[in-house]
């Protein structure tokens, strides 16, 4: 049994017939081949699969793809535009906010969402805001620096 869905991802509409049990994260990775979104756990703790669903940071392993029917999704692949990095990506690079890079797509997407709701966060607010995204390499310190730096670069705009 399959259901039709239409999901806009990074500005492009995808129509697929999918099983109702298909996770959104598998839809993105396997059905439409956007493997930038990562899977780091099976209990929705790690946040590696974070994407923006209609602008809201969402762990894509907690949602069925059929639930995302009719939504517009942004993944890590859709963040840079015209070959220019998003300022959050730029800051992660400049501040050494990543090592192995596996948590990074989810961490960057969560950071983008965080800065949309709070364009001028304190370091503590960044730490609180990213507690749902796990990183095993960086100890988080340079991630916090990167997000604060991105906020500064955007001058208080999201």
């Amino acid at each position: 049994m399959t259901f039709p869905v239409k999901i806009v991802v990074n500005g492009r509409a995808y129509q697929r017939e999918i099983e109702p049990r298909l996770l959104l994260t598998h839809f993105l990775r396997d059905a439409i081949g956007l493997t930038g979104t990562k899977i780091g756990c099976d209990t929705s703790q790690c946040g590696a699969c974070t994407v923006l669903v209609d602008g809201v940071a969402t762990k894509s392993c907690t949602r069925l793809a059929v639930q995302a029917d009719g939504t517009a999704i942004t993944t890590i692949e859709g963040l840079a535009s015209d070959g220019k990095l998003h300022h959050v990506q730029e800051s992660f690079w400049a501040k050494h906010g990543l090592q192995c890079g596996f948590c990074t797509p989810g961490m960057i997407m969560a950071s983008v969402a965080l800065l949309r709701t709070n364009p001028n966060p304190s370091a503590d607010q960044v730490r609180q805001g990213l507690e749902g995204n796990l990183c095993r390499c960086t100890g988080y310190q340079n991630i916090v620096r990167a997000v604060c730096d991105a906020a500064k670069a955007a001058g208080g705009r999201s």
């Binding site: 990562k38 100890g139 340079n142």
Partner: protein, 783 residues
């Protein structure tokens, strides 16, 4: 600018692909005709398999095959153990990829299903029927040695995998003349490495050519090729192993694992590419764990706090089987470092490796050295308590004096260089130690419990001389290799045998080439991780990639420079000995305008129109570098915590790390390594611990239950350094990947015990959860 590239915190060239989601990790790869494997794992810690029926699973939608041990045992040799510890009565129990008659831990592999997609494979897995007859279980390494304990392997009496001893000096005499003896029983709890990427394998067998390619989440693709060839019989020349992007390892991607061999077996049977990716829950059950020691230790000293001797026994849980490098970790990498940075005249340690009904144990960041450092640093603090001498002062009285070129210690090692007191002084000064002690006293009057923990450490890394590897039973070499290839345009490719997976050597190694030869750092591309394009190397672990691979690279670069000088002399019609080099230019002594750049040389060497007699064409050099000794980074860390007297919650307030890894190629990357390392060690002290119940069920079986550090539970860490060159490394550098983890667990634990001094608490079991700390305070108050 090139000379300044060494020591500059330039951005990493790895990052653009990682921050845009374009990097390809193993599970991201898709091949035509690819199918998916999932593994059925034992839900029992110890049981006899009475019956397996795969009939229904084989009939399920999309299923291509279901295999059990009856299918695989003729094709796959048992899992290899590659650290054959000598003089230790080592007993290696048979370790099949799929359990045949008996399962020995929760997660042991029982069957493998292959289907067109992974949902179908998972569905079919549920249809396999297995009848288990439960057997008695033991999970505690000390209890497993009791005569009445359940036996895991018929040919291993007492579950004892090995008994290893290190001794130096006269330890009995030391204790006989001791004026004070302090003791402790320490549980180095079992930890789960938790690289954010779980393990995965994609195997592609081409029957027509007899060639096998394995894409694998590994820290050491060349070792995987070697071991895969031994287990599967596919010859090494037809076997290609690729470590694509790898999402962290921390030791959990060193070993050979059943999953990889099962993916290969399935691909060879079915003639289709087979991908296998573990879930996080599988990763927790069946990818290797770390630590798991019970330590009984005592230290003898004089009344004025000088160490006389150290004596200890360790029961090291090895899990149900010996993982690839497991026997060397609680022994060589632990016992030989027991004297740490101190002058210890005598010591003796017995290490008992013990089989238990748990997941196999392997290296985990620090691998043996954190367990040694913690033991020693606890003893130093106990001595400090017993003699009422400040912890910093007790260390000062025992630290080895500075040395630049070798110091022999009681375990038989020769440390390369060290200046331990300087690091400690720097850390104490940075944190304003004296003022902090005064502040602590003031706060105690207000019933606020501030604690200050000090840890000085030295570690062994840059593994290591191959001759030593052979002597200690390591079934491989420990050299590294590099090829430096100049293209006609002067651009450079570097091919290395090591396999970084987050440590940033694509950047730091380009910095080495740039600094040594004056090429722009952006004109150097570093290639690693593919056995078909890179020279043999032993991998990235033990903080050895820069320490050994970097030396191989520096040596290759210097060969290039030597050849370039000869060619420059020929082209400039001068004698070779009259050619000088500076910043990428080779010029005639006294006439700097008569010069050839390295790019000119690269072009002329590749064109080969006009070479000196006997010179080969091309500008390329290969180096195989076998280090003459290990390297010994060191440092001093200080942690400040506050314990909440009402709830037992521990808050880490401040942390300073002073580490000495010699000259830093890229200080930004070094700082990042220290951040991550420290936080992993803090995780062990405060939050992390793998828990098995008495039935051998892994209670902390997912990220729901196993608490790795989060962003909101940590302060910023102050990272400082001192610089002491390694006398034997061509660039003077040492490793930094594990230093933070080696020091921080002890620093934080000591800080918590220090905070609890008013309660008289001096022994707690890690992790120091609020409940444990609260109970300790309550028990002390009620006494």
């Amino acid at each position: 600018m090139s000379a300044k590239v060494f020591g500059s915190g330039i951005r990493r060239r790895e990052d653009p692909r990682l921050i845009t989601g374009t990097a390809a990790y193993t599970d991201d790869l898709v091949l035509p005709g690819m199918v998916h494997a999932v593994i059925l794992r034992s839900p029992h810690a110890h049981a006899r398999i009475a019956r397996i029926d795969t009939t229904r699973a084989k009939q399920a939608a999309g299923v291509l095959a279901v295999y059990t041990a009856a299918d695989t045992e003729a094709s796959l040799k048992p899992m290899p153990c590659a650290w054959l510890l000598p003089n230790a009565e080592l007993k290696i129990a048979a370790y099949p990829q799929l359990a045949k008659d008996v399962v020995r831990y929760v997660g042991d592999c029982v069957a493998v299903v292959v289907a067109e997609d992974r949902y179908q494979a998972q569905d079919a897995l549920e249809l396999i029927e297995v009848d288990y007859e439960a057997l008695p279980v033991v999970v505690d390494p000390q209890k497993a040695t009791a005569a009445s304990a359940p036996q895991l392997h018929a040919d291993v009496p007492g579950n004892q995998a090995f008994h290893w001893t290190v001794a130096g000096g006269d330890v009995e005499a030391a204790f006989a003349k001791a004026e004070v003896v302090v003791k402790d029983r320490i549980i180095q709890q079992r930890l789960i490495p938790t690289a954010m990427e779980t393990r995965a394998a994609l195997a592609k067998w081409v029957p027509a050519t007899g060639e096998l390619t394995l894409w694998n989440t590994t820290q050491n693709p060349h070792i995987v090729r070697f071991l895969t060839s031994l287990v599967t019989g596919v010859p090494e020349d037809k076997l290609r192993v690729v470590a694509p992007e790898v999402g962290g390892g921390f030791g959990s991607k060193i070993a050979a694992f059943p999953g990889e061999f099962l993916a290969i077996f399935c691909s060879m049977k079915l003639g289709r590419p087979v991908k296998w990716t573990e879930t996080r829950s599988e990763n927790y059950q069946a990818t290797t764990h770390g630590r798991d020691h019970v330590q009984e230790v005592e230290l003898a000293a004089t009344r004025d706090g000088k160490i006389l001797g150290l004596r200890c026994s360790v029961w090291a849980g090895m899990g149900a089987y010996l993982s690839t490098a497991a026997p060397g970790i609680p022994t060589i990498l632990h016992g030989l470092m027991l004297s740490g940075p101190y002058s210890v005249p005598a010591l003796k340690e017995d290490v008992f490796g013990v089989y238990t009904n748990t997941t196999p144990v392997e290296a985990y960041r620090g691998a043996g050295r954190p367990e040694a450092t913690f033991m020693l640093e606890r003893m130093l603090d106990k001595l400090s308590d017993a003699l009422k001498i400040d912890p910093a002062e007790i260390r000062r009285r025992n630290l080895l004096p500075p040395f630049e070129d070798g110091c022999n210690v009681v375990t038989g090692l020769t440390y390369d260089s060290g200046n331990y007191q300087r690091a400690l002084d720097k850390a104490l000064e940075h944190i304003s130690y004296k003022e902090l002690r005064a502040e602590q006293a003031r706060q105690r009057e207000q019933k606020r419990y501030l604690g200050i923990g000090v840890c000085t450490y030295v570690e062994i890394c840059g593994l290591g001389p191959s001759q030593v590897a052979g002597a200690i039973g390591f079934q491989g070499g420990l050299w590294e290799s590099a090829i430096v290839r100049f293209h006609p345009s002067g651009k450079v490719n570097v091919f290395i045998g090591a396999s970084p997976h987050g440590q940033g050597e694509e950047t730091t190694f380009a910095q080495i080439v740039s600094s040594e030869l004056g090429v722009d750092v952006n004109d150097v591309k570093v290639i690693h991780g593919d056995t078909e394009s890179t020279p043999m190397g032993w991998g990235t672990y033990g903080s050895r990639t820069t320490a050994v691979g970097g030396a191989a690279l520096a040596t290759a670069v210097r060969k290039i420079k030597d050849k370039a000088k000869v060619l420059a002399a020929h082209l400039l019609e001068a004698a070779s000995e009259d050619i000088e080099y500076d910043e990428g230019r080779f010029f005639v002594k006294g006439t700097p305008s008569r010069a050839k750049t390295i790019q000119d040389i690269a072009l002329m060497a590749n064109l080969a129109w006009n070479l000196p007699a006997g010179m080969e064409a091309g500008l390329e050099a290969t180096s195989f570098y076998d280090p003459p000794n290990f390297v010994y980074p060191f440092g001093a860390h200080v942690a400040v915590v506050e314990v909440d007297g009402e709830t037992g919650n521990v808050e880490l307030k401040r942390y300073v790390a002073v580490d000495d890894c010699g000259p830093q190629i890229n200080p930004m990357i070094v700082e990042g390594q220290v951040h991550g390392g420290v936080v992993q060690g803090v995780g062990q002290a405060l939050w992390e611990g793998a828990v098995y119940d008495e039935n051998g069920q892994l209670v902390t079986g997912s990220l729901l239950d196993y608490a790795i550090p989060r962003a909101d539970t940590l302060p910023d860490i102050d990272v400082l350094s001192t610089v002491t060159k390694s006398p034997h490394h061509p660039l003077g550098v040492k490793g930094i990947g594990e230093a933070g983890t080696i020091a921080s667990t002890a620093a934080v634990y000591n800080a918590v015990v220090d905070a609890l001094e008013p309660f008289g608490v001096d022994n707690l079991t890690m992790p120091l959860t609020p409940e444990r700390v609260w109970r300790a305070m309550q028990n002390a108050t009620q006494k």
